[in-house]
């Protein structure tokens, strides 16, 4: 690890991608993540990398597909409306089993919405966005440091699964400055790129043709293809669940499930309540797909725990996953706000006290 430096989330995300060996960045500017492009337009040429600004997010999505199909490590960053435009390409990339990294610094929606922090794209990120049976592996950072670590992890995971990986941040993660330390340089070529890249049979010493495609007109073939994809998502559920428990050692009556920026506010509320003698536990999903079903279920069914509250900066999206994994074993409530009016710790304390 290097020296601690003070960096804006958006800039740190750009630097993290370079440190992870990604030298291809295609993007289209949108608040609140434009600083990634501003940073990389200067930084990419210094490391021999490429930044191309597409004419739209639709174009950017297919630039990502093309570069990945050719075996290059590639990523883009955008914010909610831009990610909607990219979603068609994300579906194609998942269908063609190419690795790529997408960063969504969420702003308020729907439509143009606003430019302030939100978690309104949870469904879009975890349940599809584009068409067809696919999932991205989705990680949600709660600090600038964690954003860096997740971006660096995203590339090897995308290659391991030959699948798009998304970093799901929000406007605060993008705009805030915090101290960061960059892990040592991880630059590597995608080790398994010969399995998909259209790099030329001769160049990889193969007699097998690689074909990047998502079209399967034969129904049996398409079903088999979807079963292959499903097997990957099942493997992610078995191997890639990441979460952080907070204050779960004591006898808490309430368990909170919260991710990203919202979880930091909850952490402060939990600390304040502890000072008042009220114990509240929290599970913070770091991966929202795969979702930490078992850890949340285990924490919720603890004898002392009477209820679970899903706290989100949206109108109740993750709460459906919490209900799904609890299967009615505990009452599940939701609290949330939209539009960038991030709830305060005091508001969260009130919400918790109402459920005690």
């Amino acid at each position: 690890m290097g020296k601690k430096i003070l960096m804006k989330g958006n800039e740190a995300i750009g630097e993290a991608a370079i440190r992870a060996g990604c030298l291809n960045y295609f993007a289209y500017p949108i608040t609140p993540q434009s600083e990634v492009a501003e940073y990389l337009v200067k930084r990419m040429p210094e490391v021999g990398g490429v930044f191309v600004q597409g004419e739209s997010e639709v174009a950017v999505g297919y630039m990502i597909f093309g570069a990945s199909g050719a075996g290059a490590r590639v990523f883009t960053t955008s914010s909610s409306p831009g990610v909607s435009l990219m979603s068609e390409a994300i579906s194609y990339i998942a269908g063609a089993q190419c690795p790529a990294v997408f960063v969504n610094i969420i702003r308020g929606g729907p439509g143009l919405g606003g430019i302030l922090p939100s978690q309104g794209d949870y469904f879009q990120a975890t349940k599809g966005g584009g068409h067809g049976d696919y999932h991205m592996l989705v990680m949600a950072p709660a600090s600038v440091q964690e954003a860096v670590e997740m971006v660096m992890l995203a590339f090897p995971l995308a290659e391991k699964y030959r699948n798009p990986v998304m970093i799901l941040g929000d406007g605060l993660i993008g705009q805030m400055m915090e101290p960061v330390e960059f892990p040592d340089d991880l630059r590597t070529e995608p080790t398994n790129k010969d399995s998909w890249a259209t790099s030329g049979m001769k160049s990889r010493g193969s007699t097998e043709r690689n074909l990047v495609k998502s079209l399967y007109l034969d129904p049996t073939q398409l079903n088999d293809h979807n079963l292959n994809l499903k097997a990957k998502y099942d493997q992610m559920k078995a191997e890639e669940v990441r979460y952080e428990p907070y204050n779960t050692d004591g006898d808490y009556k309430i368990l909170i499930v919260s991710f990203g920026t919202m979880s930091r506010v909850c952490r402060t509320a939990i600390d304040f309540l502890k000072e008042e003698g009220i114990e509240v536990g929290m599970i913070r999903p770091q991966t929202v797909f795969p979702f930490p079903d078992a850890p949340i279920r285990d924490a919720a069914v603890k004898e002392s725990c009477k209820a679970v509250i899903s706290i989100e900066m949206n109108m109740g999206q993750m709460v459906e996953d919490v209900e799904r994994c609890l299967k009615g074993q505990r009452p599940v409530h939701w609290y949330g706000k939209c539009g960038g009016d991030v709830p305060t710790p005091e508001e969260i304390m009130e919400v918790i006290k109402e459920r005690l």
Binding site: K4, L6, T31, I115, M176, M177, R264, V265
Partner: protein, 178 residues
Amino acid sequence: MQHEVMFAGFGGQGILSIGKILAHAAMESGYEVAWVPSYGPEMRGGTAYCLVVISDRPIGSPIIKNPKHLIAMNLPSLKKFAPVVKPNGVVLINSSLAPERSGRDDVDEIRVPVSDIAKDLGSIRAANIVALGSFVARSKILDFESIREAVKEEFRNKEKLIPLEMEALDRGKAEALK
């Protein structure tokens, strides 16, 4: 220990920049820090502000509605934020542009004509650094030497300005301790 410092003024007064310098100095002094800018839809010439959180523990919520301290570089920001400062915090008012008081008797209010001092020193653009010097000296939030180093770091690509900025810090400090 946790301090939250709100810096507020007109766009162009170097508000975000002194917030960053304070955050940098705090980080170098071994604290956890977060710097949160306002990036909402603001009018040109409207109020720009940023919040710096300094703590000896990992920072939970970086969104603070009631900061401990306020540096108000103009009148609109004094009016907007003085009522929400926590009791016993420092409220530093740029009296060159805000000829009013905070209306609070439970805070440590200091009035420093930072814009006039900066003009005296030869550059109105150093007003933010005068304010920073005053604030740090008064609040004792960090060791003054760490601020000096952070200002030098901020101006490392404009080295010829460093003597002016050091003088601005010292003038600010002297005013705050009067």
